[in-house]
């Protein structure tokens, strides 16, 4: 078996117990909440008498123990049923797929932006450690790294949507614009510029720093000294040798940051009123929709696992040592 395939198989098998722990753990956590689904249902839909309440509790299995409910949940889950969302009065399995693609798009765009611009600036800084250029970029990236994404989003709205009126304030596309084809795509793109920027900036700063610091270390390695002694040009060494080696930890970080970015999209989507997965999570918590929240936690765990798998694949492409198993 090629090493890459066996690596993937190993990762997928390793992911199963992790998912099981996530499932049991989050089920137990949410079971500990005071009040149950019937309470939150009544809180929204008005009063029911004691008999109706008892009947509803029996219907939803709330009169039995948590072990019974977990078994019921796991059995349904094995058949692909994520349960019933009490807030939306629809199956969880129908609500989540509507919301997930927007968030995945947001995350992919933000990751791409952060990775390419961040590592490019990192190369510019790390090409000559200690120079004015390097110090300026280092200080700037440290400052950007301290900026919370949701606040950056508000500041960008004030500048670009309220004052300059260049970009829309929020939402994913203009309502009833009647646009189609490329015009609609452009409209969605214009709506995505600010949220993607707010989500990406922290990671851009992180990748810049990571790239720069790693390059600073690589400059001291013997193989770089020998390249210099052979009279190879500065920028050729920078791009072909130093940057190429320094990008590997940045790629590893892409996978590690997938979970953090998914968490960040919860707040950014709320700022820009984007009807995505993150906003769904905030709504599920605010409306005490336990089945929906469980489904969201499971789906985000799966998203993070898949993102890490993709990063492993990319890593294998970049680093020949992984491919050959040496």
């Amino acid at each position: 078996m090629p090493p890459l395939v066996s690596l993937l198989l190993k990762r997928l098998l390793g992911a199963l117990p992790v998912l099981a722990i996530v499932l049991v753990g989050s089920f137990l956590l949410l079971e500990a909440a005071s009040g149950d689904a019937v309470d939150s249902y009544v809180a929204r839909s008005g009063t029911l008498d004691a008999e109706q309440l008892a009947q509803l509790r029996q219907e939803w299995g709330l009169d039995k123990g948590p072990a019974y409910r977990f078994k019921a949940y796991a059995t349904a889950l094995a058949q692909g049923d994520l349960g019933w969302s009490t807030a939306y009065q629809r199956p969880v399995g129908a609500v989540i797929p509507e919301r997930l693609p927007i968030t995945l798009l947001l995350m992919t765009l933000a990751t791409t932006l952060a990775f390419f611009i961040g590592s490019l600036l990192g190369v510019i800084a790390g090409a000559s450690p200690g120079s004015l250029r390097d110090r300026f970029l280092s200080v700037t990236s440290l400052a950007i790294y301290a900026v919370p994404g949701f606040w950056l989003g508000l500041v960008l709205i004030v500048i670009f949507a309220v004052d300059l009126r260049w970009l829309p304030v929020g939402g994913i596309e203009s309502i009833a614009s009647g646009k189609s084809g490329f015009a609609r795509l452009g409209d969605i793109g214009a709506h995505l510029i600010l949220p993607v920027t707010s989500l990406a900036m922290v990671y851009l700063a992180l990748y810049l720093r990571l790239m720069r610091d790693r390059m600073g270390e690589i400059w001291h390695e013997p193989f770089v000294q020998s390249l210099r002694a052979r009279g190879i040009g500065h920028w050729r060494i920078v791009w072909r040798h130093v940057a190429r080696n320094a990008v590997l930890p940045v790629v590893t970080m892409l996978g590690l940051q997938a979970a953090a970015m998914l968490g960040g999209s919860v707040v950014v989507e709320s700022v820009f009123a984007i009807p995505g997965f993150g906003r769904l999570a905030a709504e599920a918590v605010a409306r005490r929709d336990t089945p929906l929240l469980l489904g969201i936690i499971l789906c985000s765990a799966i998203t993070v696992i898949v993102a890490n798998l993709l990063v492993d694949l990319a890593y294998g492409k970049l680093d020949p040592r992984v491919r050959t198993g040496r």
Binding site: I21, V22, G25, A32, V147, A259, V267
Partner: protein
């Protein structure tokens, strides 16, 4: 004073800003007496327009400076305790995993991995939905999402310490394995986890701000996140209401990072 002499310029700047913030937090009841959530003047006063309200007032006429000062307390309190809780839980789990090895290690690391797979912010949200928002539950919720890094780092360190002579010596003396783990190994393995302190505090500040921005913070306390959310409703007419507390957040997180970097650099210089 030795620590101060070892700090570089960046680290000193961070230390000075953080000291000022801690003083602000301690002196908030004296500098801005009374309830910061109480109405104290005309609504939507601009900053620098009225000497009684140097940073203006919000939509309901609450003083922005008073909110900022009292918000420092919440921010620092929650950030310090949740980072401490995360580091302690993480290093205990890491020590147990690394020292016990075998099945215990496998189980503990799988659990750690599971916690890392779910976004920390989502975990904090779920925990808050269970416990309801208050300062202790916020500390719990934030540390639930952030302890894993300390566990991994400590475990790696414990694995390298486990085979050292002083551990063997402790065994020969007949010390209980748990005593060896927590009295001999953990104190020596805590260094790398402690170097995560700055990152943990910064992360905790940002998570707390985001939670209270979304309305899941302690409703009885002023927080910078809730001030930003409050100002958002009048973002078009009074953007300073959201911008000012955000600047406080950025300055605080930056100071923590500067001090953290300065400390780790001066540590490296030491023999």
């Amino acid at each position: 004073m030795n620590a101060w002499r070892n700090l570089n310029g960046e680290g000193r700047m961070g230390a000075v800003i953080l000291t000022a913030l801690i003083l602000m937090a301690l002196l908030a009841p004296i500098l801005a007496p009374g309830d910061p959530l109480a109405i104290s003047g005309e609504p939507l006063l601009r900053p620098f327009a009225d000497a009684a309200h140097p940073l203006g007032t919000d939509r309901l006429g609450r003083d922005v400076l008073a909110g900022l000062l009292h918000g420092t307390r919440t921010t620092l309190l929650v950030a310090f305790f949740s980072a401490a809780a995360a580091l302690i839980v993480g290093s205990v789990v890491g020590t147990l995993a690394g020292f016990l090895g075998g099945i215990a290690d496998a189980i503990l690391m799988r659990i750690t991995e599971a916690f890392q797979t779910v976004p920390g912010f989502l975990l904090a949200l779920a925990a808050i939905s269970v416990t309801g928002p208050s300062v202790p539950t916020l500390i719990f919720a934030i540390s639930v999402g952030t302890w894993t890094q300390a566990a991994r780092v400590t475990r790696a360190e414990v694995l390298s310490l486990r085979e050292r002579d002083f551990v063997a010596a402790a065994r020969t003396l007949g010390m209980h394995p748990l005593e060896i783990a927590f009295r001999e190994i953990l104190p020596n393995a805590f260094g790398p986890a402690a170097s995560l302190a700055a990152i943990s505090v910064a992360a905790a500040i940002l998570i707390e701000a985001a939670l209270s921005f979304l309305g899941f913070g302690d409703p009885n306390r002023v927080t910078w996140g809730s001030m930003i959310a409050e100002g958002r409703t009048v973002l078009r007419s009074a953007p300073y209401l959201s911008i000012v507390p955000g600047i406080a957040l950025v300055v605080t997180v930056l100071a923590v990072h500067l001090l953290g970097r300065g400390l780790s650099r001066s540590e490296r210089l030491q023999p």
